[in-house]
């Protein structure tokens, strides 16, 4: 089905513009046209579908659902719900308080907080569109693994005393948010698609343009020489590079796509993308309202280490 976008790019570049296949400029332009049309089509359709699913899982309901479950089941469910529950970083604090107050263990709450930004629908759409369903699937599963493992480790460290003291005193009210009907859900999904596209379209275009330049102009084995499977430091380096790039998650994936074509190994690629999406400086600043700095440091360190291990694992088995 996605073939149609290759054909469209063929038509524009080779027929209408009459460019010769195989040149730097035609390769770059073909890449840009194919990827932009495909990605925006996928973003609009898939985010709409995801928003409909999401309308069934408001966080106010999620926390009631998670409270009192077996601890390992709770970690798994928490990570899965993180994927489908609407979440923006400015909601992170009320959400954290709501979870903790419902008696959900700290580690389980972190599984949710890690999965929610990392395995989000924008990253999944971009991965599916550019890399195919296999890589998108691997990202989904390893992302959930990272969220579960890091959450369990944080839980085992018993860091409850590093949660800001006032958090334990808050009593969360019962909002009794009204059930949406189908026309509400469709309106919600439409609004959601519009919000997301308005927020990320520029990053997506810039990312695909940069990716197109890499695709057309960077030599085929360029990265193999520096960041190939033989370099043991490539994974931690990619992760450290990825952490400060949060705001460009939508823009970074097309570039990563082009880099992977030029020989960046899968594990290093995955680790880099996870570092970009899961840890961000603005989110840490927001979370510092409810977490003491020791817990934030532990959170960043544990997630970073888990992502590095996933990177090594995939470089080793592929």
């Amino acid at each position: 089905m996605l073939k149609i976008f290759t054909l469209l790019a063929d038509l524009v570049v080779y027929s209408w513009l009459g460019l010769e296949p195989g040149t730097h400029i035609s390769e770059s332009l073909h890449f840009f046209i194919e990827d932009t049309t495909k990605i925006f089509f996928l973003l609009a359709t898939i985010i709409f579908a995801v928003a409909i699913v999401r309308s069934f899982f408001p966080p106010e309901r999620t926390r009631k659902f998670l409270a009192g479950k077996n601890i390992y089941v709770a970690h798994l469910l928490s990570a899965l719900l993180g994927v489908v529950t609407p979440f923006c970083s400015c909601s992170a604090c009320p959400l954290f308080i709501g979870f903790v107050e419902a008696g959900i263990p700290l580690g389980v709450t972190f599984s949710f907080l890690i999965a929610s930004p990392m395995v989000n629908e924008i990253a999944l759409v971009m991965l599916f569109g550019l890399f195919g369903w296999k890589i998108a699937g691997i990202y989904l599963i390893t992302g959930l693994m990272v969220a579960i493992i890091a959450g369990i480790v944080i839980g085992k460290l018993h860091m409850e005393r590093y949660v800001a003291d006032y958090v334990w005193e808050i009593r969360v009210g019962d909002a009794g948010v009204q059930e949406m009907d189908w026309s509400d859900r469709i309106n919600y999904a439409k609004g959601y698609v519009k919000d997301i596209i308005a927020k990320i379209w520029l990053y997506v275009l810039a990312g695909i343009a940069a990716g197109a330049l890499v695709h057309g102009y960077v030599p085929q084995d360029f990265l193999l020489r520096y960041a190939g499977p033989d370099n043991p430091f490539a994974v931690p380096f990619a992760v450290v590079l990825g952490v400060p790039l949060y705001s460009n998650a939508a823009g970074i994936i097309p570039i990563v796509h082009a880099l992977m074509e030029k020989g960046l190994p899968l594990g290093t690629t995955l680790a880099f993308m996870m570092a970009v999406t899961s840890l961000s400086f603005p989110e840490m600043v927001i979370l510092s309202q409810v977490l003491k700095k020791e817990l934030i440091a532990a959170f960043v360190a544990i997630v970073t280490l888990t992502i590095i291990m996933v990177g090594y694992l995939f470089n080793f088995i592929m």
Partner: protein
């Protein structure tokens, strides 16, 4: 009528607040609009996803950036 807009101050929350004021003006309702930015206060109202709207102590919306028309519909109901 007393309306509270809940949100820690992200762009979505600010847009919602101005939409609420616009809706009130269009309907000619004179209501007190208060912005609640303190996280504890937001959570205490049971809202875990911002922005949220509370009308006369009742949560009517959470986690959605409602349009002016949607807010007008909510105002007419309460």
């Amino acid at each position: 009528m007393k309306i509270e807009v809940l949100g820690p101050g992200c762009p979505r929350c600010q847009t919602l607040e101005s939409n609420v004021k616009e809706a009130l003006e269009q309907l000619g309702i004179d209501a007190e609009v208060e912005k609640i930015t303190e996280i504890g206060q937001i959570a205490a109202r049971g809202v875990l996803s911002t922005p949220g709207i509370v009308i006369d102590g009742k949560v009517v919306s959470a986690g959605k950036l409602l349009s002016v028309d949607e807010i007008k519909a909510l105002l007419k109901k309460s």
